[in-house]
Symmetry: D2
Subunit: 137 residues, 4 copies
């Protein structure tokens, strides 16, 4: 069972093709990560307050359909890989219940200066807990 | 004689009306400020590297026309007011030589914690120099 | 009693000052207009489906504070003026219950080619109804 | 020899990490496609004026570094695959001459209603010409 996020397409997210510009799918996936991180009681905001950053080192999206202004968007999010320095999220994005995109983001943990570091044990345990919770692993 | 900035409309800046979304005019005005600040040899990046921030405390835009993907945009920028803690910029925005918007932004100087401070003398002189240069004051 | 909108600050909405970039307040005001328009049973999407556009011809924002990633944003929206061809919205924006901005947007109705037209009676009545409902006029 | 695009990082493109938000790389790749399409005398704007759309059906970015406000960005763009209904672009993105990302976008041609169609011969020839010109194929 994945974590679920719901949002509505904003007018500013559309482009001259009349549909949502493809870059906004990355914004939505980020909102979905925020929700995912929150689902066990801590948050990405807490993570940052410890001087940690979860930077994006890879992105992949396959677009299968489009979304329009006002469409209800739903995102299913899994943490499909977690290791000592980062992990990989997977997303399935629906517009009005049609699957319109699938995607992945890969992440590394850094300090505030951008140096890669190990995830502190307390946070690694938290993420592993969410991984188990949402991915049935 | 105002400072001048040129840019081309990006596809992502358009919306489902087929024209540039009104919020992008604020992005362009910011690019114009960057250019304005640079025109005398220093830059806003230098300003920030001294622990200073020029925050926006007011914005006003009157839209008189629209812009489309690929249009050449030109922005004329003046610093119409400058005082010890901030100032006001004025903008005229053209798309393919038609005036499409006029605007103002009002600013205060803060430190990195967001506390309002006086502009250091060296920077105040620099801004007054640009003010004279571009606004004929 | 104004119409109310709630949203959470997205990471992408922040900038290198660590706070929400001022241009995003226009995006939020647009989300608030979408909610406002919906509150009586019709929607801005319906409005567009009739070949109508409510274009922005003026924007004014006074910033009184800042918002950070994860802050809960609330927007109170009134339609303070309505006439045969357009109207003016007023917004009060709160972050975690602190007032951080007030603003106005002024609008005209156009057809899909951008020509200003009168609001059709059925929609004018609808907007007047919302005006009465939310502004106590 | 790839097509080349130059731009400067805008303040609005940064986020609270102090670096450019990863989603903006998609905006820059789009600007690079606009430049690529123009390099032989036609433009993507012409393409759209014929009722054609080059929609994005896949995106892949590997981030190898970061960019900051004011950095000079350079993008090298190739059209690495072209077929009757679409093609694939490849990008290399540099900030101040450091390689910070590589990416691909995959595209299909549609009509204005979103139906996949074949690229008209005149445009297919044009794109093949650019492909040869920039990719040495």
């Amino acid at each position: 069972m994945p974590s679920r996020t719901t949002l509505d397409v904003r007018y500013v997210e559309t482009d001259a093709m009349g549909i949502v510009h493809h870059s906004n799918f990355l914004h939505w996936m980020e909102v979905a990560r925020t929700d995912f991180m929150k689902d066990g009681g801590k948050s990405y905001r807490d993570f940052e307050s410890k001087g940690l950053r979860l930077v994006v080192i890879g992105v992949e999206v396959v677009y299968r359909g489009s979304a329009r202004y006002g469409d209800r968007i739903q995102i299913e999010t899994d943490l499909i890989k977690i290791h000592s320095r980062g992990g990989t999220f997977r997303y399935r994005i629906f517009a009005e219940e049609r699957l319109i995109a699938t995607g992945h983001t890969e992440h590394l943990t850094t300090d505030t200066s951008g140096r890669t570091i190990s995830i502190p044990p307390e946070w690694l345990d938290y993420l592993k807990h969410l991984h188990t919770l949402y991915s049935g692993a």
